[in-house]
């Protein structure tokens, strides 16, 4: 029997991950149409959001349908501070992240401390987004209501604003890589193991000496803070936000369904989902958006059904199965 780390297959074949990453960094050098660039930015943004989402909903198994709360808080804090006080989004963004984290802590404490789990936690998060969206619509003298609020355009990196789409692309690429490696790191630490244990069986996890409440709250706060920074990026990329754009339920569903298609139990899963779904959805929106208005939604639905039926662990499930098959073979080789 091998005493080696069962993940060593991945470690030995690092290039499988590094080559695509290097290619992604060179993409801006190619003459790529602006629209394609936009799709790439969107895919990366969703890859970032879904990976963050998976920390609490995939790793710890506490499915959140309210991650737009944190997204919206990040986006609105930055925008309002800039709009009214001229504060640079670099600082406003940090404050936004802090607010997202605080909100997550309150929500997490209220839920997990009093044993609100499973579907009830999902409902609580869902309700939070609806409430926050309503709140920001109703406070129209500050937030601009449903019409939204604009970010003054300065076009200087000092204000997290760039003249080229490629610059935004590079920013979100770096952000995504950070969260991807963070997620991978977590998966191989005590924290990660504890989250998996909580996902599988909370009572058994408690019996193993795991403070499930503490770990769940921590995972939620971390996930929320990262998502909040996604919101900051959103506000700078579009320079215009409305409550329905940042708090909308459709975005919440989009994050969770994309992550589930990719597989939310493993660090690279959500990103796979995003790189698969976003191009398809954007392409159909561009091609059939005028004629078959709901086609992108239909594609989501269809994919969800197919994945749920044939690949309940998402696309990454196939890859994991291949890896464990390789591992078995290696182990057998080691024995003979």
């Amino acid at each position: 029997m091998s005493k080696a780390d069962p993940r060593d297959y991945l470690t030995r074949n690092r290039y499988l991950f590094y080559i695509p990453i290097v290619i992604l960094f060179f993409i801006p050098l190619l003459p790529i149409p602006i629209y394609v660039m936009h799709v790439l930015v969107l895919s990366l943004l969703f890859a970032y959001l879904c990976t963050s989402w998976a920390l609490i909903s995939g790793f710890a198994g506490q499915v959140s349908l309210g991650h737009t709360c944190f997204y919206g808080i990040g986006a609105y804090t930055t925008t309002l501070l800039f709009h009214y006080y001229g504060l640079t989004p670099w600082i406003g963004g940090i404050i936004g992240i802090a607010f997202s984290a605080i909100f997550a802590f309150i929500l997490g404490y209220a839920c997990f401390r009093f044993k609100v789990r499973g579907p009830y936690f999902t409902f609580a998060t869902l309700a939070s987004t609806v409430i926050l969206e309503g709140l920001f619509v109703s406070q129209s003298q500050i937030t601009g209501g449903e019409l939204g609020i604009e970010m003054p355009y300065i076009g200087s990196p000092l204000y997290f604003q760039f003249t080229e789409k490629t610059h935004y692309y590079l920013v979100i690429l770096v952000l995504w890589l950070c969260v991807l490696f963070l997620s991978r790191r977590i998966q191989n630490t005590k924290f990660g193991y504890y989250l998996f244990a909580i996902r599988e069986d909370e009572d058994a996890a408690e019996a193993c000496g795991i403070n499930t409440t503490k770990y769940k709250i921590f995972a939620l706060v971390l996930s929320a803070a990262l998502t909040g920074f996604g919101g900051v990026f959103h506000s700078q990329y579009y320079l215009y936000i409305t409550p329905s754009a940042v708090y909308g339920l459709d975005r919440s569903f989009q994050i969770s369904s994309t992550a589930l298609v990719g597989g939310s139990n493993v660090w690279f899963g959500p990103s796979l989902g995003s790189f698969l779904i976003n191009p398809i959805v954007e392409w159909t929106r561009a091609t059939y958006g005028g004629t078959i208005y709901t086609l992108p939604l239909m594609i989501y639905g269809l994919l969800m059904i197919l994945i749920g039926r044939f690949l309940p662990e998402g696309i990454s499930g196939i890859i994991q199965r291949l890896i464990s098959y390789k591992r078995e073979k290696d182990t057998q080789k080691g024995r003979s």
């Binding site: 029997m1 005493k3 780390d5 069962p6 191989n188 630490t189 005590k190 193991y193 504890y194 998996f196 244990a197 599988e200 069986d201 009572d203 058994a204 996890a205 408690e206 019996a207 193993c208 000496g209 795991i210 403070n211 499930t212 139990n265 464990s324 591992r327 078995e328 182990t331």
Partner: protein, 240 residues
């Protein structure tokens, strides 16, 4: 003998049902205490009270002199009281080794170290060939072994084994009993062994406590319990 666990006058009700009524018992150092009784006699409830899953209405649970009542389960586990579940509860989608690593991380923050310790323990309980298998794919017997391995890596000083023999074949049962004795002699762990199979408990226990309908009806060494009329009545019915 030093008493490491002392349960005093514990009463627990579920609605109108009296699950435990003024139950007292104690476990000494390195002692294996057998806890038997018919279905619904409160054995598992007592385990749940000791491990903090339920809070008793009355009574105290003293561990090395410290009252555990009101502490959450994870803190009690950290103090060194570890349980297994009657219906095994492995972390199904994790491999066997990862299940045990979760347990061993209680005493160590280092994954590599935890992994090595887990493999050793898995070899010891006889799961050495199943390290990378998903735990939901294990047979009942192996699941019970996994529960035991997970509990052992937490380096407890008191283990509560809730029917760790139920559903096993005779051969497996014998193996497990030998294992328990080995664990006790090698690691000096005290145990409460909750069991349905009276014969098995008689073999392994130093002392036996019998529960019926939530009350303690007998206590003593295995031989005297086997002859105890109340116990025979509970298990076999009244003599005609």
């Amino acid at each position: 003998m030093n008493q490491i666990l002392k349960v005093e006058g514990v009463t627990k009700r579920f609605g109108g049902i009296r699950a435990l009524y003024r139950v007292s018992l104690h476990v000494g150092e390195k002692e294996i205490l057998g806890l038997i009784g018919p279905n619904g006699s409160g054995k598992t409830t007592l385990i749940n009270v000791i491990t903090g899953v339920y809070e008793p209405k009355e009574g105290e649970v003293l561990y090395n002199g410290e009252n555990l009542v009101g502490l959450p389960p994870h803190q009690i586990a950290m103090k060194g009281i570890v349980r297994t579940f009657q219906l095994t509860r492995p972390f199904g989608n994790l491999s066997v080794i990862d299940n045990v690593i979760v347990g061993s991380l209680l005493k160590s923050d280092d994954i590599v170290e935890a992994r090595e310790k887990s493999i050793e323990t898995l070899e010891m309980v006889g799961l050495g060939d199943y390290v990378h298998v998903l735990s939901k794919d294990l047979t009942t017997g192996n699941r019970k072994r996994l529960e035991l391995a997970r509990a052992l890596t937490m380096e407890p000083s008191l283990m509560l084994l809730d029917e760790s023999l139920a559903g096993l074949t005779l051969a497996e049962m014998r193996e497990n009993l030998t294992l328990l004795k080995k664990i006790r002699s090698e690691r000096g762990i005290s145990m409460i062994v909750v069991e349905h199979v009276v014969k098995a408990v008689m073999d392994v226990s130093d002392r036996i406590v019998v529960l019926d309908a939530g009350e303690k009806i007998a206590e003593g060494d295995p031989r005297s319990i086997a002859k105890n009329e109340k116990v025979i009545e509970v298990y076999l019915g009244k003599a005609m």
